[in-house]
């Protein structure tokens, strides 16, 4: 029997298509249509919930569209959207949680507009981050964020008190933040 090639057809990895780098936006509808999902996701990754992400994405679009004069080159508009998102997010963390010296590194918007707007950035980053953590820290965060366990369920699973589970979660998150700064930046 011959060798069976287990490799199938070439993996059609997602590729950017229709990169609009040299195009022009002439109206706000086009800006909205191409970027609303990308902005929403970019913001969601820094607030972690849909209600705030919706409000902040709207704010980013409004501020950008009220400031920029259209028509404008697509890449200018998209850079400005990201810059505005940075300001809007820093304001949010300051006003909601009294956060000082907010430093946000934001990725660029996906290049091809909405057709490919959603990306695996958040899930890949989360996976890489979890993989860097010591076992106990990784376990508590996997149970909470990937498997949706409550603190009580985590405590039961890990054989610790609920209070200890909360402390463990806090320390694990701080460690994750540290790795995010130092390793994944």
């Amino acid at each position: 029997m011959g060798v069976i090639n287990l490799r199938g057809a070439d993996d059609p990895e997602p590729e950017p298509v229709n990169d609009p780098a040299s195009s022009i936006y002439t109206d706000w509808e086009s800006v909205y249509q191409d970027n609303v999902v990308g902005i929403y996701q970019l913001v969601f990754r820094r607030v972690g919930n849909a209600a705030d992400a919706e409000d902040l994405a709207e704010d980013v679009l409004i501020r950008t569209l009220k400031t920029l004069r259209l028509p404008a080159p697509v890449h200018n508009v998209r850079s400005y959207l990201v810059k505005t998102a940075k300001t809007v997010l820093a304001d949010h963390w300051r006003s909601h949680y009294a956060a000082q010296n907010v430093e946000l590194e934001l990725e660029q918007l996906p290049p091809s507009g909405l057709g490919n707007a959603a990306s695996t950035v958040a899930s890949e980053r989360a996976q890489r981050l979890l993989g860097l953590l010591p076992d106990q820290f990784r376990q508590v965060l996997e149970l909470r964020f990937l498997r949706g366990y409550s603190v009580r369920e985590v405590a039961h699973e890990m054989g610790v008190t609920e209070s200890n589970a909360r402390v463990l979660q806090f320390r694990a998150l701080r460690k994750a933040a540290q790795f995010e700064r130092e390793v994944l930046a």
């Binding site: 509808e29 996701q41 959603a118 899930s123 964020f145």
Partner: protein
Amino acid sequence: MTSSAADRVARFVDDLLRGRRPRRFHATPEETEAMGAAAGLAAGRTGADLPDKAALDRIHRRLSERLDESPRVDARFTRRVWLRTLGTAAAAAVVGVGLDEALTRGGAIGPAAEGQAVLTPDGAQWRPVAAVEQLPEGHALQVSTGSVDAVVFNEGGQIGAVSGVCTHLGCKLQPDEADKRLSCPCHQTAFSWSGKVLYYRLKAAPPDLPRIQSRVRDGQIELLVV
């Protein structure tokens, strides 16, 4: 000190995981550091950072109002945005056609939506895969008969089944009960429980998931498989 910080961060995480807007509070730098990491992890759950159509509608409507534009184009544009983002299948709303009738007579669930394949293997037999009480309303289960990986689901009291393998490159789909989705861990593709493509980031939409015929007999959910 540490304990109360841990409590406050735990409340913040609870809010994120339950899909609530977190409460405002005066956080220490250590707490905001942990909360930032929590936001990133919450976004890392497959499909969590995708806006739903209602959110896009609201954003568009408010932009329209605030930019002093006519709102008459809302439906056209938001529909186009949503379709381009989530795939044309999401709007087809053909899910569930015929399910009532099939279930009430205890026979196979179907028919499948238009264009959706139905898995009918040669020599197929009805095989029990789970007890009905294991699958309350709003839940989905991954099951395997050895030859077929499937997801059985209970949506609105109606039980159905689809292939549990992504039609793109064969990764095993993960049921997401909160959003009633089947998410592919490999390339961020998502299907509805009934197998329609909801979302993809590929150049072309993958096919819908094949339906698998199912029925309930003597308290057991059975699939027509090999």
